[in-house]
């Protein structure tokens, strides 16, 4: 079971990086307009231009 000493910290590290990503995205304002974000993905303004 000694492998757990390595695996558990790795799992923890992965979890922490997820948390860090969430914190970053919130600071970057990605959650400010959830409705708009859902609509923007289907807007095709890049084709029009």
């Amino acid at each position: 079971m000694n492998i757990l000493v390595v695996l558990v910290p790795i799992a923890l590290f992965l979890g922490l990086s997820g948390l860090a990503a969430f914190m970053w995205s919130m600071r970057a304002g990605q959650f400010d307009d959830s409705e708009g974000a859902a609509q923007r993905i289907i807007s095709d303004d890049d084709i029009r231009r």
């Binding site: 979890g15 400010d32 959830s34 708009g36």
Partner: protein
């Protein structure tokens, strides 16, 4: 409307020659609007950035000063069909946004921690039956501690702070047992881990935090949504003033930019933007929003005017005497302050529950400890059992019972067009058993209308309203709205002090005074507070009676309220002779007119003395003290700011129906809150004996806690279903945009 608007007050400089402004956008009804608005603005010369927030319906617009101006961009938006109104972020809203971010961060940390700890805990639980050895279990417990301690220290802050604040104020709020439960669970788990014990409660502590934070976040989200929508509406109302600059030019500025001593010009039909003294001019002013009286007052040079009164005819030049927030009558301000003290003593259902619950939990835990010691258990085992009792009773369900219902109920009300100012308003609204209405602007529409439209021949009102479009006079405005005309006559001519005339189909049309139109009969109205205007079509002359008409559903609303078991009365500042017909139409026997703000409070006190809990519905400055003194209060969106600030909720639209809905939904909500509290009690009745007997393992604690929370939340969701059933065609009324926009332009 050729005056230049000064946008400097709203915009901010973000870079070299670049300015930014926030606009509340009116008319967004679908997602395609996003493309349309941004797509139209972005290619324009000088536009640096245009980003629409579809959630809050606000547009952030950045432009290069040298190349364009906000006027052009706002005009462009108007051309494609959207109203754009400059917007100022209130400080309260900004701090709420910051609080929301903080809560979300706490939630994220708690979510991360509980997932990872649960991963370890499930391994330990399944290891009990299998062959997990002691060192591995200890290692898992230590890892859990490593995650749980920092996570609880961070994510628990909202609760610890509230608990400390409560203790400092010498009261037990719900956060005290929560904090205590979390801290004890963590402390005990560390002690147990150090002694290689089988059970640790890290998962319970962190999961408790996660559930509670979920409740708080959704509560905060709902509150923020409501507040943002209300702030947009006030931007749409957009109170502006025409300032007379030193060089004699006219600049339109927001009311917030006015300073004492500024000269402002108020034309006929416009609102007085701030408390002011008349420097020159002579006019009649309508002060119904301040005193409730619909009779107009003649004013001239030197007279003091209050913000919100409407200038009827003639142009007034005013000097601002009390700019900004100070614009209210001294007497009203004093009364409001005194009256709002009375309400601060109100204790919320959740707090009352906590007051009973918290000591009970602590006594139970303590007697468990004592009981086991007497029974002969070791000190260690007795303490462990006592702490297990604290953990299992930690009021997860109890703490969610009330907020969950609040979120769902205020969401249903939001969709019905009622914006709650505070969550506890729900409970007070539910308790109301007597409704007191103000008359002017509340039972009646805030803007006057033609009340005898039904007695006019076909087509007359349409012609009159087309003619009325040529005039700025408020009475003409009322005629224009009543007829719904959109195209004015080309050659309409305004005769100052008399009326307007135009040629159409070979006949001369006239709209104005009796003499101007050649009316020979009685030139007055039977009903006080009614203005008359005459319309001449060739030879025929008609009398138009203009007055603040009753809201369309006023009669039904009063009937519905009575059916709900509420008493109804009318307290008005208007003349008794003007109130009587309204009361008669509505079938309200208990009414009073000619009341001053202090009289209204006295009348409310009299009702209170009879054991009534009064819901006050009012809109005027004269209602503000009564709104603050009443058990619960509502205002229409057209109410003055001070009245809105004192109200528990603001409702939209031209109907009174939201009043019934507010009472109905809040009663439903209170019933569900009670049910939820009883569910929590039931849960405890089952779980506590088990905990006292020492049967509770971490696995059982986790299952019980999440089970009860889910149960309570599901029960709260019934509020939404009930609200939808009660109102099957609960189509959200679109914002009364036209009216608000009109009001904004004066």
């Amino acid at each position: 409307m050729t005056d230049t608007v000064d946008y400097a007050h709203w915009s901010r400089r973000t870079g070299e020659g670049v300015c930014e402004i926030d606009l509340a956008i009116d008319g967004i009804d679908c997602a395609a609007c996003l493309d349309e608005i941004e797509g139209t603005l972005k290619p324009l010369r000088g536009v640096e950035r245009a980003r629409l927030n579809l959630t809050s319906r606000r547009l952030t617009l950045a432009w290069r000063e040298a190349e364009t101006s906000p006027d052009l961009l706002i005009d462009e938006l108007a051309r494609i069909g959207y109203g754009a109104f400059p917007f100022e972020v209130e400080r309260a809203e900004a701090s709420e946004a910051a609080h929301m971010k903080w809560l979300l961060k706490c939630l994220a940390v708690a979510g991360f921690a509980s997932m990872n700890i649960m991963l370890l805990s499930v391994s330990v639980w399944s290891g009990h039956g299998a062959d997990m050895d002691g060192p591995t279990r200890d290692f898992f417990h230590w890892m859990s501690a490593l995650i749980a301690l920092p996570a609880a220290a961070y994510a628990g802050q909202p609760f610890f702070r509230n608990a400390l604040a409560g203790l400092r104020a010498r009261s037990l709020n719900m956060d005290v047992p929560i904090s205590l439960g979390i801290l004890l669970a963590l402390g005990m788990s560390i002690y147990e881990t150090m002694h290689h014990a089988e059970h640790a409660y890290f998962d319970s502590a962190v999961m408790l935090l996660l559930f509670l934070l979920l409740g708080r976040v959704s509560d905060q989200m709902m509150r923020r949504k409501t507040r943002a929508a209300a702030a947009n509406l006030s931007a749409l109302k957009g109170e502006r003033a025409t300032r007379l600059a030193q060089d004699g030019s006219l600049v339109v500025v927001p009311v917030g930019a006015l300073r004492n001593g500024d000269r402002v010009l108020v034309r006929s039909g416009e609102r007085v933007p701030a408390d002011a003294r008349i420097v020159s001019g002579r006019s009649e002013v309508d002060e119904s929003v301040i005193t409730g009286e619909t009779m107009r007052r003649t004013v001239q040079e030197g007279a003091a005017l209050f913000a919100g009164s409407i200038n009827f005819d003639g142009v007034l030049t005013l000097e601002v005497t009390a700019a900004g927030q100070s614009s209210l009558l001294d007497e009203v301000g004093r009364l409001v302050e005194k009256a709002s003290e009375a309400r601060s003593g109100y204790r919320r259902l959740a707090d009352r529950a906590a007051r009973i619950y918290a000591p009970m939990v602590h006594v139970t835990a303590f007697s468990t400890l004592a009981g086991w010691l007497m029974y002969g258990a070791s000190l260690h085992d007795a303490i462990i059992t006592a702490i297990a009792v604290l953990i299992i009773t930690c009021p997860c369900a109890l703490a969610l019972a009330v907020p969950a219902v609040q979120v769902v109920a205020s969401g249903s009300l939001f969709r019905a067009g009622v914006y709650l100012n505070s969550a506890e308003a729900l409970e007070r609204l539910a308790e109301a058993d007597w409704v007191v209405f103000d008359k002017s602007g509340t039972l009646t529409l805030p803007t006057p209308g033609v009340v005898n439209a039904a007695f006019l021949p076909d087509g007359a009102l349409e012609l009159a309203s087309r003619l009325a479009l040529a005039s700025h006079h408020p009475l003409a405005g009322a005629v224009a709205r009543a007829g719904g005309a959109r195209t004015p006559f080309d050659l309409a001519e305004e005769v100052p002090g008399a009326g307007v005339k135009a040629q159409a189909d070979g006949a001369e049309l006239r709209l104005g005074s009796a003499a101007f139109c050649g009316w020979t009969g009685d030139a007055d109205s039977q009903t006080p507070g009614t203005s008359v205007l005459f319309f001449r079509n060739g030879r025929d002359v008609f009398k138009l009676e203009i007055r603040q008409a009753l809201r369309v559903d006023a009669v039904e609303t009063v009937a519905a309220l009575k059916k709900l078991g509420l008493g109804v009365s009318i307290l008005s500042g208007d003349l008794p002779s003007a109130v009587a017909p309204v009361a008669a139409t509505l079938g309200v026997a208990d009414w009073k007119g000619g009341l001053k703000p202090a009289d209204k409070i006295a009348a409310l006190e009299a009702l209170k003395a009879r054991g009534r809990k009064v819901l006050m519905v009012g809109d005027g400055l004269n209602d503000a003290p009564a709104l603050a003194a009443a058990h619960a209060s509502l205002s229409p969106i057209s109410a003055v700011d001070l009245a809105q600030a004192q109200s528990d909720a603001v409702f939209l639209g031209d109907r009174l129906q939201p009043v019934v809905e507010a009472v109905g939904t809040s009663r439903m909500a209170r019933a569900l809150m009670r049910q939820n509290l009883w569910l929590a009690v039931l849960y405890n009745a089952i779980a506590v004996p088990m905990a006292v007997m020492g049967f509770v393992t971490p696995l059982i604690a986790a299952a019980a806690m999440s089970g009860s929370s889910v149960l309570v939340t599901l029960n709260a969701l019934r509020c939404r279903r009930a609200a939808n059933e009660a109102e099957p065609d609960a189509t959200t009324q679109p914002l009364p945009a036209n009216r608000l926009a009109l009001a904004g332009k004066g």
